[in-house]
């Protein structure tokens, strides 16, 4: 397994004081908190920082970690020397908190497990929530999944691979890939959650299994943008279509439609196609934002047409600027 340099992770020197470590942790935890950060690898970084802090905040663990020596480099192949922790007593067991939920136990790396894993008693699925006896509802799982706009438009069945932490009989945590086939309900919006009852962690005793929550995120679309159920489309039109009006074909997520443009249309004009957004109650609208696209003056004919316009029209686009 790979050696982890917890000082490097926290961005502190090896002789940092406990206060400095705490400050560094607070700062990094705010930066990478999965509920706060938009960064893609935020959750991973957050867990890494949490693990480093778990060791460095505890003088016992820190001293034990330090005596592995300063010569190890992050990523180097590592095996815990036998009896490496002789003379240390970890009073708090392996885990002294930080990550609460049993489901989050997978947060710790193999490296951490090999050093501090002993004595770790898993709280079990939802163990903190025991409601008498040994019965407890399994904890809920949360995962983010990416779908396409078209899936929300029409409804679809999609497969997702989820990494699920599992605790074996010895208390070791591994992650396992679990493939789920899920019906995407027609009309689902970005940021909404789909609850799959009973698909979370199994319960203990007669406790029910927890639920699985899938947070829906849309893949960026090549031509549409989405806001709630409304869909936005930038539509290029020719100058003469804008000036004279026209009936043109417009793509919509549900197929092309004909749309009328009134004479005198300008760039930035927003036309609404009611109910052509993501379906629902109420259905979203499709907003078509006009942008006037100029033909290139790449041929003699095109150049002469532009010259004709220049001579025939008394046009100063900067009149409003006083020049």
């Amino acid at each position: 397994m790979e050696f982890k340099d917890y000082y490097e992770v926290m961005g502190v020197k090896r002789d940092a004081t406990q206060d400095e470590i705490k400050r560094a942790y607070r700062k990094l935890a705010r930066k990478y908190h999965p509920d706060v950060s938009k960064q893609k690898d935020a959750e991973e970084r957050f867990k890494e920082v949490g693990e480093a802090y778990e060791v460095l905040k505890d003088p016992e663990k820190r001293t034990a970690y330090d005596q592995l020596g300063a010569n190890w480099k992050a990523g180097q192949d590592f095996n815990a020397p036998p009896d490496w922790d002789a003379g240390f007593e970890f009073s708090g067991g392996g885990y002294t908190g930080g990550f609460g939920d049993g489901a989050d136990a997978g947060a710790y790396s193999d490296f951490f497990e090999s050093l501090f894993g002993q004595g770790f008693q898993t709280a079990g699925p939802g163990g903190y929530q025991t409601q008498g006896g040994y019965h407890a509802r399994g904890s809920d799982h949360h995962a983010k999944v990416l779908i396409d706009l078209e899936d929300a438009m029409n409804g679809a069945t999609r497969s997702f691979g989820l990494r699920v932490p599992q605790v074996d009989a010895q208390g070791h945590v591994t992650t396992k890939e679990r493939v789920l086939k899920v019906n995407i309900p027609k009309g689902v919006k970005q940021g909404q959650h789909i609850r799959l009852a009973g698909q979370g962690n199994p319960g203990m005793g007669e406790g029910k299994a927890g639920d699985l929550y899938l947070e829906i995120e849309f893949n960026p679309h090549s031509i549409y943008r989405v806001d709630g159920r409304d869909v936005y489309l930038d539509l290029p039109i020719a100058p003469w279509e804008a000036a004279l009006g026209a009936s043109i074909k417009v793509p919509t997520p549900a197929g092309a439609v004909d749309m009328k443009i009134k004479p005198g249309a300008a760039s930035g004009n927003k036309l609404r196609l009611k109910g052509r957004g993501i379906p629902g109650k109420p259905a979203g609208d499709l907003y078509v934002v006009l942008t006037i696209s100029l033909p290139e003056a790449s041929t003699d004919k095109a150049k002469s047409l532009y010259k004709d316009m220049q001579q025939a029209l008394d046009f100063n686009p900067r009149a409003g600027l006083g020049v």
């Binding site: 929530q129 019906n183 959650h193 699985l212 090549s222």
Partner: protein
């Protein structure tokens, strides 16, 4: 423990189809009723129904309570701080969406 499933699962949309009582919300978020009451008092979540025994929460509350729990646990912020953070996160999300709407799909 968990086997690979190939059957197709159908869920419900949390934000639209789910309404929860105080008890159900406690179970779903694995928190005490006191914590939820405090969040209501801070204005983090807004139940309908005039007294506690008739409180009814929308599915959005579930997500907010979970975030509140994590922020409090991981960052050591108090409830007023949690309330502020959640409001600012909402505002950030709104601006982010607005920005995407204005600047086109090529700008992530």
């Amino acid at each position: 423990m968990m086997t690979q499933r190939t059957d197709i699962l159908t869920g419900i949309i949390l934000e639209e189809e789910i309404h929860l009582s105080l008890r159900e919300l406690c179970d779903a978020c694995a928190v005490h009723a006191e914590f939820i009451t405090e969040l209501v008092n801070e204005g983090v979540i807004e139940p309908s129904g005039f007294d506690k025994s008739h409180w009814c929460f929308s599915g959005v509350s579930l997500h907010r309570i979970r975030a509140a729990k994590h922020l409090q646990r991981d960052l050591g912020v108090n409830l007023a701080g949690v309330a502020l953070a959640l409001d600012l996160l909402d505002e950030m999300q709104r601006l982010h969406t607005q920005l995407q709407k204005l600047s086109g799909p090529e700008h992530e």
